[in-house]
């Protein structure tokens, strides 16, 4: 037993010595200090942390090859400016000058090394003039160059097929969009708005499911889907309107506009229309206002308005409207 206790005593003091001797080195390392064997002094250093996408890039520090590949950290660097070069085969190199501060980490962790030959893939199989990407359903809709047909494909271009034909009367097409529930699309030009229903297979048979609204006295500037996929918010040069996507529906003017072509943004998540319009001040000068029009069905009795005949509902008057 005595011997065991003697060994244990030695072990205890050895552990104590290891702790006392090792701790200053570990803490100085953690705090970024480096012992300079020439001056016998501790010098505070910094770190460069390099992370690339993709990883595995060769690192050059001030022109000298660093033994590790990215991601890597270069420790115990004296404060100053360092030239970093990152190279990866078949990728564009990346160069920068990095400032290293004492006791700090300079992070170079947002580097993307772009390939020399990027992965480029053509998705369309027909000529088209514009497209809409539906990230939810992972499909892309294309409007063909002659603006007669709507195509659809998967995000990788597969299953490219025509899903709707457009009526001749909508030529030229100014704008189009698929409804949030993916059951129909609208197309419009300056004086005509048409809605085409997809059939159950999400294909359109326009001969039986197209209905159009004419705007002979107004010019349509923008059209948006309401989140319920049933109503459309239409901005013309004279009004902000809502209209149902059914045959024979009449638009309801919600706001009278002063300016000819308002700028507009529709927040479909909240069903809020932001639009600009002009206002004339008493001194005769004209300036712009930005308006917010809430169209949420729970706030706004949209349906009540819609059921009233065209022109019966009194359009909202903007406060201080000059007209």
């Amino acid at each position: 037993m005595y011997n065991f206790q003697k060994i244990r005593g030695c072990l205890f003091y050895l552990s104590l010595f290891l702790f006392c001797a090792g701790l200053p080195f570990i803490l100085s390392f953690a705090l970024g200090y480096k012992f300079n064997t020439r001056t016998f002094k501790f010098v505070k250093t910094g770190i460069i942390w390099v992370k690339t996408q993709p990883p595995g890039a060769t690192i050059f520090l001030n022109g000298r090859l660093f033994p590790e590949k990215s991601p890597a950290s270069m420790q115990e660097l004296l404060p100053g400016t360092y030239k970093i070069a990152l190279e990866l085969e078949q990728h564009y190199p990346w160069n920068a000058e990095i400032e290293v501060e004492a006791g700090k980490v300079s992070r170079v962790d947002k580097v993307i090394l772009f390939p020399v030959r990027p992965s480029l893939q053509q998705l369309n199989q027909e000529k088209f003039s514009s497209f809409h990407l539906d990230n939810e359903k992972k499909v892309i809709y294309y409007l063909d160059q002659d603006k007669k047909t709507v195509y659809r494909s998967n995000l990788d271009g597969s299953n490219f097929e025509d899903v709707a034909g457009l009526p001749d009367k909508i030529d030229p097409v100014t704008g189009w969009d698929v409804s949030p529930d993916k059951s129909k699309i609208f197309v419009y030009n300056q004086h005509r708005l048409a809605i085409i229903l997809f059939d159950q297979q999400n294909d359109a048979d326009f001969s039986s499911s197209v209905f159009a609204t004419e705007y002979p006295q107004e010019r349509i500037s923008e059209v948006f889907w309401h989140s319920d996929s049933y109503h459309l918010v239409v901005l013309t040069d004279k009004h902000v309107q809502v209209i149902e996507s059914r045959r024979g529906s009449l638009p309801v003017n919600l706001v009278d506009l002063v300016r000819g072509r308002p700028e507009a943004f529709y927040d479909i998540k909240e069903d809020i229309l932001y639009f600009s319009d002009s206002q004339k001040s008493p001194d005769g000068s004209v300036y712009n206002n930005l308006y917010k029009l809430e169209l949420r069905s729970d706030l706004f009795l949209l349906e009540k308005l819609i059921t009233q005949p065209f022109g019966a509902a009194k359009p909202a008057q903007k406060e201080g409207s000059g007209e």
Partner: protein, 497 residues
């Protein structure tokens, strides 16, 4: 508030206050001065690595001693001692305080005792039942029928409930049983100096050489009455049936006890232990109102003999039941409660310091050293896992943008990661040693289970979370708030169900 109560409450608050102070202080420091917090955490991490390596080395040494002494003919060695040492006159009183353990727990303990290599005519068995246990008398009768003739004397005692000044603790029952043993010894005119008493948990199965080893160490000791004798507890009774979680915790507990056996200056009695009957009477038996009677009995001896009292490690095993229950969550709960009861040993701190204040004969250095050891061990138990697992990452989370730019913020997770890798390396030693202390695989148990015994060590980090710090914090907080615990025996396997 009276002065005595004020002192008692102050001493009760110190361990919990210190543990909570460290934890809350480090959390606040992580917000207010993350660099200082990171420096403390790294220092603690490094301290833990050094400590783990040191303790693992002690474990290897203790393990080596255990295996060297395994199978030794201790009884033969006793017989070789000069007759004046008194082996021929040495009696063994074996006391089993029983709470509500059934026959399936008690019978194997008595069988093991009966099979031990010691003259049975000099073994006196006291089965100390609790009167409040409805089955106590029936069980006592059955066991008396079976075992009465196998020992020098066999006595069943029934500890009455609610005696003045007593709590419902194991110590109260053990004291009642020991007093009955005293009457028996008096009636047979056996001198207390010739008697060694062993107080065993009800599920304790002794090794056949236990009493030989105990007698040998008692007889060769220069001051045999100024020592307690502590065997190595292993939880082998049902280790093959126990689920991984329980098995790992119990093996770790055995290892902790083996490590402690190498640190004699800190070594304190735990669970099943033995001591001189003369000393037991002199120090007025086990405490009757404290849960941690197994360790308090040591401190009573230490105070009685003015610091000249020690614990002699016996490198023989006593086997106990691993605590587990019918499903994982119940097992976790059982283990948690058991560890909390062990952590309640923190009640020793006010007891010991109060004793030190009253005793002028113990050297001040010894008082300071022992008080510090006691406090440090409980506080470390309460904070280590919290610091390593929860507080370690806090400076990174709360340090903000400025701190995240600093070298120490970058190096902190690297050093902490190194700690865990290093701890895993030491765990391999523990895995190997755990393999060697296992009893033989019972028939019908698949060899795959033997493989599982190795693989299950990957759950160690999970176990650290369960029994690392939480039970100790719980116990210390209860003591701090004067919400004293009551004794509840641990559910062992399916036996106490």
């Amino acid at each position: 508030m009276n002065k005595g109560i004020f002192l008692k409450r102050t001493l009760e608050i110190i361990p919990g206050g210190l543990s909570w102070g460290i934890i809350i202080g480090l959390i606040f420091l992580s917000f207010l001065h993350p660099v200082a917090s990171a420096v403390i955490i790294i220092s603690f991490d490094f301290y833990w690595i050094v400590r783990t390596v040191y303790l693992t080395t002690l474990l290897v040494m203790a393990h080596q001693r255990l295996f060297r002494q395994k199978g030794k003919d201790w009884l033969g060695l006793c017989r070789e001692l000069p007759s004046e040492r008194g082996f021929a006159r040495l009696y063994q009183v074996v006391l089993f305080p029983v709470y509500n353990e059934g026959l399936e727990v008690l019978r194997p303990s008595l069988e093991a005792l009966s099979a031990s290599h010691y003259p049975k005519e000099r073994i006196i068995v006291i089965m100390a039942f609790e009167e409040r246990n409805a089955l106590a008398h029936d069980n006592a009768l059955i066991l008396e029928e079976e075992f009465r003739g196998r020992f020098g004397a066999y006595l069943s005692t029934f500890h009455p409930d609610g005696l003045p000044g007593e709590s419902r603790t194991k110590g109260a029952n053990a004291t009642w049983g020991a007093k009955a043993a005293r009457k028996l010894l008096d009636s047979r005119a056996i001198a207390y100096e010739q008697v060694v008493i062993s107080c065993f948990d009800a599920d304790t199965c002794v090794e056949i050489e236990y009493f030989g080893c105990l007698s040998y160490h008692f007889l060769i000791s220069a001051k045999p009455h100024q020592a307690s004798y502590q065997p190595m507890p292993v939880y082998n009774n049902n280790i093959w049936q126990a689920p991984s979680l329980a098995r790992l915790i119990e093996v770790s507990s055995s290892f902790c006890q083996m490590i402690e056996s190498m640190r004699l200056e800190k070594f304190v009695t735990f669970s099943s232990h033995s001591m001189s009957f003369k000393t037991l009477v002199a120090i007025d038996y086990w405490p009757t109102n404290m849960i941690s009677d197994d360790s308090v009995i040591y401190w009573k001896g230490y105070l009685h003999y003015n610091g000249d009292y020690r614990v002699v490690p016996l490198y023989v095993t006593v086997s106990l039941d691993a605590a587990y229950s019918s499903n994982l969550w119940r097992t976790i709960a059982v283990q948690y409660k058991q560890k909390r009861r062990w952590a309640w040993g923190v009640e020793n701190f006010p007891f010991v310091v109060s004793g030190f204040i009253k005793n002028n004969k113990i050297p001040l250095v010894s008082k300071i050293r022992r008080s510090f050891h006691l406090l440090e061990s409980h506080v470390t138990w309460a904070v280590w896992a919290v610091i390593l697992v929860f507080i370690g990452p806090l400076p990174i989370f709360f340090g903000g943008a400025f701190f995240s730019q600093m070298s120490i913020a970058y190096n902190l997770p690297k050093i902490t990661g190194l700690l865990f890798r290093f701890t895993l390396l030491t765990s391999l030693t523990w895995v190997f040693l755990s393999w060697t202390i296992l009893p033989p695989r019972p028939k019908g148990t698949s060899w795959l289970k033997q493989g599982l015994l190795i693989i299950e060590w990957i759950f160690v980090p999970f176990i650290i979370l369960i029994v690392g710090s939480a039970p100790a914090i719980d116990a210390q907080t209860r003591l701090m708030l004067a919400r004293y615990m009551e004794f509840n025996p641990t559910l062992k396997g399916n036996k106490v169900l």
